[in-house]
Symmetry: C2
Subunit: 818 residues, 2 copies
């Protein structure tokens, strides 16, 4: 719980101050995907009503119109049965940790505001999740809650070997007599480093000021000629330069390729649609820019080893100058084209005549909908996750959440070929922006805030998780005969957050259904990262003037730690196979038919595989000791829904060992407290020996009657076509998976709902309409505004300073991380 949820509104109202803190580039990391992340401008703003609402734990909709007259007043609050042990640190806890860290002389820390490239600083303070062993002793039994510790990441740059250090601090709240810190190593499997990984980005300021802009300026004559602009670090630059991620790490050298891009000329975030087709290579090994080496240019598929070579070529008559990609309406998302008459009328809208039919403990981020309950956690790296998901009181999943998202490009130029974003480096938490009611989620949705640590402050995205019930356009069940029809509404519950990690907007939806099934879906929108079109027809479609829709694979890894009636689970496979077979009744003839083959995944040696061709094999997590009355294992089946994919590239030169999670559709390990996550935010910093090499999880352990964890890849192969301009559309950019009960209950659990009907008819008339006591039959008037919900409360982050701790003075800061 952020402090914002705890301090009294009066404290805010009576002590609003405009702070004069100098704004900084709050995440000192390269952000090739997000040009605006690098903008140094920052503003702060006096606190407003939105903050007060956030502080009061009220979401926006409660502050607008009065309740429609017919809405029931449902009890939508509840008390979590246990404390949420996956909750973020409180503001007080965080501030205590930060103060304590600065008091530890051996850490040699400098406050971020004053830190240079040769100082150590704190870049993350958040809760360390409890080990599952401890957690279930608490949530399932009467053990005391696990001791809290902080997970801290230090950016140690006061050294020739700059590195990120994961450390653990605690116990919390810190107390000078008991608190200690130690390297955090057990959740990682890097061979060396003792909880640290090198920082290839330690000199990002120097990289631009002493290297990239210098090189940009050195070819200003050429860039002015080609595109009438410069990328020299000047205020009037119209060009930008940024490059590959991860950097090349072969042969002990650190190599980068950078590319020229046009800066957008309009109000839109269209830079990734404006590549210019000029690239340069640098050896940036070590911390001394004077030792860095310029290694050549690439233009129009020709490599020039030196700037002189490139300039000479450019000066020659035979030099082919390709055109620029120019910003314009084609790159802008606003309404364009003739408005269709009927489109000017309001479209259908979903409303909740009875108010919310679910209950939330906002303090504990604990949710109950129908027979489901769960806790919500949130981290900088991976954003929203779910813990202790129960159905009818029995846990189905201990943990369900994103682990990492890979966007692996390819191309005939080094920029696209060299790009394989591991997005948790940037973080899904910091980019989980405020949601737009009526668009991202229904207007009536409930919202929760999320927070993340930045430079001795906690930033809060208000209304960045939405929770809502919805009704599918099709029923969950139906059957008709010549005398009756039975139909049941398919009402479901969705929890959603959207993270815009640079150019792409990932909409994560976790939905819960009346039959006990769960769906995990990702839909992608936002701007594609495109390529300059120069003979690269083998890597994408030609979609605009000099633009290639650069081919790429999205692979999003999710952890699904199932606990089916306990932790002793197995993974059963059920395959439909064609067979020729004779039977006692087939008169000696063989019949061409099919049969089921049942088997189990015996160990991690068989734990990595793909969905079978023709979807012929079911994957079911079962409890072999818990069978239904007829001897079938009770379990949950994992089922592709709206498409999945794994990485096309084999042994990627970009990723090496940093993205091994992407290699198969389904990967199963034995749960270990030392293997909590399939990736690490800094895997890109040492791709040959990353903090987490996922393949090391597979060491032959038994998967029979063990605590199994499924690591499931969602994703899509994306070859952008012209319809991805200006933005990719979510109709077809989708991936999803479902978890469904498999012999888990004796019958379909949706039979429990009253929101079904059975109509009996005969002789041309309806003789009965059974509605099972559903609803309230009184008609009412819903208060409906066809146009916009109140969207004028959309704001930036709310920031609370942690060092010095200043809880009573939250302020807005719409800076580079917002």
């Amino acid at each position: 719980m952020g402090l914002l949820d705890r301090i009294s509104p009066r404290a805010i109202v009576t002590s609003v101050l405009l702070l004069s803190t100098v704004a900084h580039d709050v995440l000192a990391r390269p952000s090739p995907k997000v040009p605006w992340v690098r903008n140094k401008g920052s503003t702060q703003k006096k606190i407003s009503d939105a903050v007060k609402r956030a502080i009061n734990g009220q979401q926006r909709r409660n502050n607008s119109e009065p309740e429609p007259e017919c809405a029931l007043v449902l009890t939508t609050t509840t008390i979590a049965p246990k404390t949420n042990i996956w909750a973020p640190l409180s503001d007080v806890e965080t501030a205590g940790v930060v103060e304590w860290l600065f008091a530890q002389a051996d850490l040699n820390l400098t406050v971020s505001e004053n830190a240079t490239a040769w100082d150590n600083s704190i870049i993350l303070v958040e809760a360390l999740w409890p080990n599952k062993t401890d957690a279930i002793a608490y949530i399932d039994a009467n053990a005391t809650a696990p001791t809290k510790y902080a997970h801290v990441v230090l950016n140690n740059r006061a050294t020739e070997t700059p590195h990120y250090a994961d450390i653990v601090v605690g116990p919390l709240p810190v107390d000078n007599t008991t608190a200690t810190w130690e390297p955090l190593t057990y959740p990682y499997n890097k061979q060396s480093g003792g909880g640290t990984v090198r920082n290839l980005d330690a000199d990002s300021d120097a990289l631009y000021s002493e290297w990239i802009y210098v090189i940009g300026a050195s070819v200003a004559d050429i860039t002015l000629d080609l595109w009438n602009g410069t990328a020299a670090g000047l205020d009037n630059d119209t060009l930008d330069i940024w490059g590959i991620d991860p950097l090349w790490q072969d042969d002990g050298r650190i190599i980068r390729w950078d590319a020229f891009w046009s800066l957008p000329t309009g109000d839109f975030d269209s830079e990734t649609l404006l590549p210019l087709g000029l690239y340069f290579k640098s050896d940036v090994t070590g911390r001394d820019p004077s030792q860095w080496a310029f290694e050549g240019w690439l233009y129009n598929n020709t490599f020039y080893a030196t700037t002189d070579d490139f300039r000479a070529a450019w000066s020659s008559d035979s030099f082919k100058k390709n055109g620029p990609n120019v910003d314009g309406e084609w790159a802008h998302t606003d309404q364009q084209g003739t408005v269709l008459p009927l489109d000017a009328a309001p479209p259908p809208v979903t409303v909740t005549p009875a108010g919310s039919r679910f209950a939330v403990d906002r303090e504990q981020k604990y949710v109950e909908w129908m027979d489901f309950s769960f806790y919500i956690g949130f981290t900088r790296d991976t954003g929203m996750a779910f813990y202790d998901i129960r159905y009818k009181g029995e846990r189905i999943l201990y943990e369900l959440g994103l682990q990492e998202a890979l966007a692996h490009y390819a191309g005939n130029d080094p920029m696209q070929s060299g790009t394989a974003y591991l997005d948790t480096f940037y973080g899904f938490g910091p980019y989980a922006f405020e949601l737009v009611p009526g668009y991202d989620c229904p207007t009536y949705a409930e919202y929760l805030n999320t927070s993340f640590y930045v430079e001795e402050t906690t930033h809060t995205h208000v209304n960045s998780i939405c929770l809502f019930e919805y009704v599918a356009d099709y029923p969950i069940q139906r059957h008709t005969t010549n005398h009756y029809t039975s139909v049941t509404k398919n009402t479901y519950f969705t929890v959603r957050s959207v993270s815009t990690v640079g150019n792409y907007d990932y909409t994560f939806s976790y939905s819960f259904f009346l039959d006990g099934s769960i769906a995990v879906e990702v839909r992608a929108s936002g701007y594609i990262q495109s390529a300059y079109y120069a003979g690269n027809e083998d890597y994408g479609f030609h979609i605009h003037d000099f633009l290639s829709g650069s081919m790429h694979d999205h692979v999003l890894n999710f952890k699904a730690d199932f606990d089916i009636l306990g932790t002793n689970n197995s993974v059963q496979l059920l395959s439909l196979v064609p067979v020729e077979k004779s039977y006692p009744w087939s008169g000696g003839k063989k019949r061409s038919t099919m049969t089921l083959e049942r088997s189990y995944i015996e160990s991690e040696d068989d734990g990595r595989f793909n969905w079978a061709p023709n979807s012929a094999t079911q994957v079911i997590v079962v409890n072999e000791a818990e069978q239904n009355a007829f001897g079938e294992n009770r379990g949950y089946r994992v089922l592709p829904y709206t498409g999945t994919s794994h990485l096309t590239v084999e042994n990627s030169s970009n990723l090496n060992n940093a993205g091994r999670f992407a290699e198969f559709d389904v990967q199963i390990t034995k749960q270990k407290d030392t293997e909590p996550r399939s990736a690490h935010a800094f895997n890109s910093q040492d791709t040959f020996d990353p903090p987490v090499d996922f393949t090391k999880f597979f060491d032959g352990e038994s998967l029979r009657n063990e605590d199994v964890v499924l690591w499931l890849n969602l994703g899509m192969h994306h070859v952008p076509h012209s319809g991805d301009l200006p933005n990719t559309v979510m109709t077809t950019a989708h991936s999803g998976i479902q978890f469904m009960p498999s012999n888990y209950f004796s019958i379909d659990e949706s039979r429990k709902t009253v929101n079904q009907v059975r109509i009996t008819y005969d002789e041309g008339k309806t003789s009965d309409v059974a509605t099972f006591g559903q609803g309230i039959a009184t008609p009412c008037a819903l208060n409906f505004t066809p146009a916009e919900p109140d969207l004028w409360g959309y704001t930036g982050d709310i920031v609370v300073r942690k060092f010095p701790f200043d809880p009573n003075n939250p302020f807005y800061q719409t800076d580079s991380i917002v």
Copy 2:
């Protein structure tokens, strides 16, 4: 257009009569899937308000509450640009054909009411669809409309070789001087028969009265002992007998296996959940029951060649008597279990504050929504289909619709092993029942009626096609930066019909989206056909007392006749492939990356294939002569959506050549007027030489720059588990495919909608909310009733007699086909 849409309401109101026609078993076919289809009871009912509404072309909702005060009065009617040449015959046309047929002495026809098993009768009169060649000359140019003909199916049983005869009659309207009939052969490819196929079901009455019930009675002592019931054709029978489909047709013999089932004891259609595990084999070759041969019993996986053998075994002490499956709450769909408190409140509901935003020509079944337009056709065999689907005035698809649906079972008993339903034998048209507003479709949906021919009458299912706009719970587009958020509503348009072919309810949804994409989805509910559980763990889960969830494959074949900017199209494949490759800039090193491989399907020899592993290959229908400004083919991509499958069984012993459409995911042919459909309703009657053997379509014709047709299989492998009891749920029983523009337009077409917003914010406040002139900003009160829409108007069929023609006396008939 059925006559119901044309005759004046006054004519009805002034001439209502209660007809005394004796009801018949209107489809004289075996209906193993649909026990209630065989019920002989039938009722007729004086015409009611619902008919008047149907006649007035009004759907139900217009007859209930007054319009909500804030609803705009949108023009929701339109005039089709051309006559719908895929419309059904009018009542007058049908009656004319029927009268003319009875006048043709050479056809030797008897009216159905009087027809015995040794008479010829008419079983289908419907419109013969025009050849595409003629159709596009009319719809695209100024040719006159194609001459209309009737497609008639005769059930010629006045012969030792009973057969179904497809004939064509016309031109229409029939005129004694010009009308002729001739065998309809050109759309079929059967090697012999001249447009006929044998009827294996000619003696269905005798089969029961002289064979099945006789055998049932012969073991009454045993069935009474085992299950305390009989299946002897008596009024107090509590058991039922029915069997395999198709019949075994090997070695020139016609063999059937029949099984015993319990009749339901409650109000529910649960018979397919009540198998009893006793089977018998009969050789029913020929028309003389005295020549039929009983060939043995199967019980508990033991075969007994004679009844004496079986009785002897049963009488012995060692005989193992398995228990019965007993009807009960587990098999009933009504609400059961404790009602959750919040479930008693009304769930969310979607409303249309502005009324419908689409336009329908109800007379022509022509629809316009935003930039889409299309015509709807409807046939007995395959139900609803779409013609001339256009986007922005250009045709995308000439035809889109279901061809056939296969449900192929397997088991260790001959009943399940021998079942491979080809559902168009039963027909999707006759079972496209009235839809339930608020459940099958939103309450505000618009509805159309559908009609089909039965025994000299036309039956009309009122409100059996629904059309509605809906808003997805997620946007179609979004992007957020640190200073603005852009989001667009995902409003789409769906046309739906539901066919309950016996036990299963297939919900067919065709949806159209703002980006120009189209989705085809099938979701399945209803009762599974289960197996008796006796050692058949290799064929399904053990899901109730003595019940196996019998494994089966659903494969539903759809025809998608694309016309991308004309009929000269090709199918381009685009594959993502891993590659090791060096580049001018890679320093001589090979890089592990990926690339695109582009190719075309050259001919029908390569026209049958499956979706590539890891979804690595895109299938795009393109016009090679129509490229975008940058040289890419304009086209539409075909994309799996919510899962697809093809048949597991190879060379099925049940199907032989009758279900070849099910063998691959994607199958592509050159469009030919002689190959309009991939299947035929009577393929099951001669599986070795069926009317349509789909493999014969593939004869090496070029598919480059030709009029290509894609035959796409949706489907799912279904291994029912306990959650399929009482009904399968549509959350996870799904299959779908999408068609999406691929470089078809220069940018995403959803940019056209005003139902988007761009919020600009900075310094902690919103500075602009751009809404692009959308909607009407005036709040209004929606008139909403939380509980049920008016469901008391749900009725049976409306029947209009065609011979003698009696258009003014429609009546209700809730008989075996309703």
